[in-house]
Assembly symmetry: C4
Homo-oligomer: 401 residues x 4
């Protein structure tokens, strides 16, 4: 048991125990932290939010998740032109169907009870390898950086095909990625270090949450790591598997690894916070905790251009034995441009994400993303208290809870 | 008062006080913890979830609670063949009625207001000792391990009868079991040490929650201890008696005792977490906190084969003076096989419990249950925040809370 | 500011700060604690719950609050015969009206909007001093201990009248009682020490919450102190005045004072927890935190015999300038006997309070109230989590929150 | 990162971390604290609640927020005569429209969806400088202290005009104020020190939240500082920008600065808590945490005389690119006099704010505001527990949550 905390490379909270002899520590989510302004402020226009991933400069440090309801070829083009980076799921609808129209129709029109079955059927169609090259070419044709996501076991097969077609960045992504994976067949799982060298492209890998894992992944030569495993409290990973780390802590832990790495190597891979961000405030917090960029899904699934047509679904849903994630109707609101760069029509943090980030940075006196990581973070839970329930009810014009 | 913390064998949290001079410590429930993935992962198929209780190997480390709505003879057979172990309540409907049909009819068809009275009446019928042997024989006839639960005061009377009929494991179970019990009549309460020797069968005893009690119970020669007293926050024991210990802490405390015991004796009795688990995620957490197996009731009461026909009720309900526990309509969903071994049709952690456990272990890099006890556990409360209420409301298609 | 913590006699939590330079500590309510069973259990029948107040032995350590909706002369008789002690409000309806029927009619039949006005009118009728003697005599005529409650400023006037009529115990009670009170007129406020000597009766004083205040009050020669100021989170005192101390901490603090006092004087005044207890579990917790007895209001307002006819209201409501407290419809359920001594028809901790207390003590291995104060108390918040909301909603047959 | 905590001048909570290497501390809101009575009490009439701001004595330590729905010329007169100080927004409706009737009509009659657009239009009308003088003169004509609020960039232009018209106190107010601001144009932002000297009027500046910032602002010669940034958990600043500090901690931190300043200079500027107070209890807590006075908006927007006619809206709403804050229907209840000085018709802490403050001070034994800052503050969260939800539901006559 003494192994436990050492394992995650953490010696924090050494006075906290689950029970006798079981050390633990407190982890925090976005809802539990807030940023503290100091003595300096500056005009939002002065705040530099650019970052660089694998040699590609991003005007906007926001990535669109490799989820079929969020990114298709068209979104990749629009989002890239707006300054962000959209990542296409290379093992989803886009590469299984030449014409994706029918697949999306089925997914978004079936009822709740048949959704899992429909998903299992649609994703049982084999991947058409010719579509891999086609999709990458279609993205490149729009003049933007092309990025796709593949699972570790398919990375060596599909990566080179996509590269041939002009791919710029490859994301090797599974729910949880460690440095070592054992499979039943005994065949060696993906060797990341070799892969990074052989593929000849910037590799982003994930997802991970722990300090030591992040450090080990960085040593393989990746350009970035995705941070986030089951962040939301309502997240299926947590209910089904008991697994999950609140984002603020996960990011701060991995950022600590990147600092150690940077101290040794000069420059560390990018920390990309992935999951659990629903408002611009969450994005500001993610960066203040140590992220260089963020990857978001549901906030973009609401866009007019989103292929999900107002629906958002997880990529673990089609699992034939243990479906996780579900389909949520997020609705369709405004164009991607308004979500990303405003102006905002609403005041809830779902529009003008970059404007909010710059305003937050200005208010906090942070001229760039690096400086944003140094702002004070406090623990300030937005716990639901009795008073707030009554107040909310009143504000909503309700006479009772 | 200084006695207090020493009593539970704990020196943790020595800086926490209820008030001046009243030391205390923080205890955690399943909702407040989460598991943290590390650097290694492995294929779920490689994960070994077997355990051994009293010499009987269990393919599935899940026990079905000795509750009349959960286990009857038929369920004992099915559940055993699926790899788990169902425990029959030897002082319930099964041994009071040769034909249990009418009793179940009454319990499940009465209305809420008459439920307590109905229960009191049904359980006032004396136990028919011939049925004890009959039920055990019926279970054995299905080719599975036979296990029954008796109360301490009836253990010496009913245990031998059941053993004669072929019983494999006896559970001696009261709400709370300590090593010493004083009764008004002055008659000696059950001497566990003698009982374990004389009965000639593996004995499982419970329920307990504290380190020292667990250690003392282990010294009596039992094969396993049940851990859990009033775990749920809404649990009646807590409202009526003020008693209860959140499960994560209770398990970790008793696991600490088993480690001490194993260090001394080579091998410790099994720690069986009992109560408060509703999802596969909870089961994963229970094992990560130190349990060797889990005992669950309500998740199985939903099974098509459950004798409760969609209802679940506590065994303290028929108390003539202080009824506790209530009847809950859980509904009837799918067969036991789907609940235990999947495939799951839903994504909420109520189906394919073993699949989820293996996937969790694989994600956490734990090849067997012993290794699972070493994964990092963090405190990560799934507290209901204002944001989450709004979000939930939105997800449910509600315009307001 | 350094004075702050010293003031309450506490040096606990010296590492906790509201902000820079403002030390504080965490206080706990009943909802946040639970009791932990240990190695011994005993039959509930063996548990002695008697206590002694001012020389009067109480079979039941429960007092009925001096509130007009809870105690009248008749209730005082019934409750006393059941073993408890009911305290009559000497400045309420009972002493303002010879025939109280009409007053109760008005209070319980007016609508919500006119309630404050009605109360202000009813309580503006002057006290009829002849009724003071009459009420005390009526209580004594039923063969029980007679106890009344007066405010500090009226204690010297009404106390002797009541004593003359046969009073046994006098409660001197204001919302908050300290050892020293300054009034505008300059006239000396009640000198408790002199009063205890002169009145020639056991005096119970309250309410207080802090260690030092409790100690100072004990030094005046009182027989008991009432502990509790604005305990509930929804309590009006907290919303209107910002004042309140969660009960578990308040009781433990005052109990610490009683231990110091007992160490010096051999025996300390009784600690009577007053407020915030709604279930038998709360009563068990109050005693485990250090209370010798409890005073409850709303749980008794539900009794068939309660003068409030299903309504319960606070005694600060009639204030002409700053009304606090409100009228709550608690409904009428069962006779006082069932509430106090069962048998219970329900399983929610509102009936058979003494049975539950004895069962709790037996489960915890505490043969008497003194031993009950030594059981382990853990911090185990019954926080409302997302999972629980969904679960509750499901249990209630609701498809959504 | 080590810089982080030093930055806010705090060395508290040095054992708390967001994650590895990211130190943090816990901040508290009004809902999480409570005040503890001690050994002394005094009659409320003896409590002195007066304070002095910029040489002007205030009978009531309550300021009305410079928000268009709360303060107009008429309210400034009434509120001043009642003993408080109302601050007029110098860049809102009052100085853009000679006749404000139509503007208020539009704001309060438009529907929710068009509100942001309507606000943007109304606030796009240029400020009429002649109205600045006019409004100040109208306030002065009522015989009260005249105070207005301007933004930092307009302070040098509008301040002198208002002074010329008889202004008494100028509030220089932006969402967040630090000592140094950099703007794109390179032009120097407002130099507070020079401004305080040149304007020849008491200057109040804000808002700030941190110890060091407060100290630096005090050194510029201001008469008071406003404390509070995004205090409410539901506050838009927190959702949109991730920024916010719970009030109890923000006030205590700034109070610590004022103590250091006073130790050096004899007397410190006033600490004015601004935001997040909805009840009299909150006001009591604000002062106990170290505030000399409070500034409130929504509690006054409910007044019969409020220009918002039952509506309340934030001043960041009209932002053309990043609207924050929203319009809330607070309803119209009673005259300002009843809200401020009672008598109260209700018991929820929204009326008779000064009566409640005096009663709280009397109960806590604090003869004046300075003494109130020394009362013990405990952490006592009014967390919503399961029990409370059921209880509330029951109180509201609801059969379910």
């Amino acid at each position: 048991m003494g192994k436990t905390l050492e394992y995650s490379g953490s010696t924090l909270g050494k006075d906290l125990f689950v029970g006798k002899g079981k050390p633990t520590r407190r982890a925090y989510g976005f809802d539990e932290i807030a940023l503290v302004p100091g003595s300096e402020t500056l005009d939002p226009e002065l705040c530099d939010i650019t970052t660089t991933l694998g040699g590609h400069k991003l005007e906007v440090p926001i990535l669109a998740s490799a989820m079929d309801g969020v990114v298709d070829v068209k979104v990749a083009g629009i989002f890239g032109k707006l300054g962000g980076l959209a990542v296409l799921n290379l093992q989803g609808v886009q590469t299984r169907y030449a014409n994706t129209e029918d697949a999306y129709n089925e997914i978004t029109s079936c009822d709740k009870s048949s959704f899992v079955t429909v998903m299992q059927k649609i994703y049982s169609k084999p991947i058409d390898e010719s579509l891999i090259a086609k999709r990458v070419e279609e993205i490149k044709a729009q003049g933007v950086v092309a990025a796709v996501s593949v699972t570790p076991n398919m990375a060596e097969k599909y990566g080179p095909i996509a590269k041939e077609a002009g791919l710029d960045i490859v994301f090797v992504q599974s729910t949880v990625t460690g440095i070592e994976h054992r499979s039943q067949s005994g065949e060696a799982s993906l060797n990341l270090e070799s892969y990074c060298k052989s593929i000849g492209l910037p590799v982003v890998v994930g997802n991970c949450v722990a300090y030591r894992t992040a450090l080990e992944l960085m040593e393989t030569g990746v350009a970035g790591i995705l941070v986030g495993v089951g962040p939301g409290a309502a997240c299926t990973s947590r209910g089904v598997l008991g697994i999950g780390v609140p984002m603020a802590t996960a990011i701060a832990d991995c950022y600590a690894a990147s600092e150690v790495y940077a101290h040794k190597h000069g420059k560390a891979p990018l920390i990309i916070a992935d999951g659990g961000m629903v408002t611009s405030g969450d994005i500001c917090k993610a960066i203040a905790c140590g992220a260089d960029a963020v990857m978001i899904g549901s906030p973009l699934a609401k866009a007019k251009e989103a292929p999900g047509r107002g629906y958002h679904w997880g990529m673990a849903t089609p699992s034939p034995v243990l479906p996780r994630g579900t389909r949520i109707q997020v609705g369709t609101t405004v164009p991607l441009e308004k979500i990303l760069n405003g102006p905002a029509d609403v005041d809830d943090g779902t529009q003008n994400l970059t404007g909010a980030l710059k305003t937050s940075m200005g208010t906090l006196g942070a001229p760039d993303l690096e400086a944003m990581k140094d702002v004070e973070v406090i623990i300030a839970p937005s716990i639901l208290t009795e008073g707030k329930v009554y107040q909310s009810a009143q504000n909503l014009g309700m006479g009772r809870i």
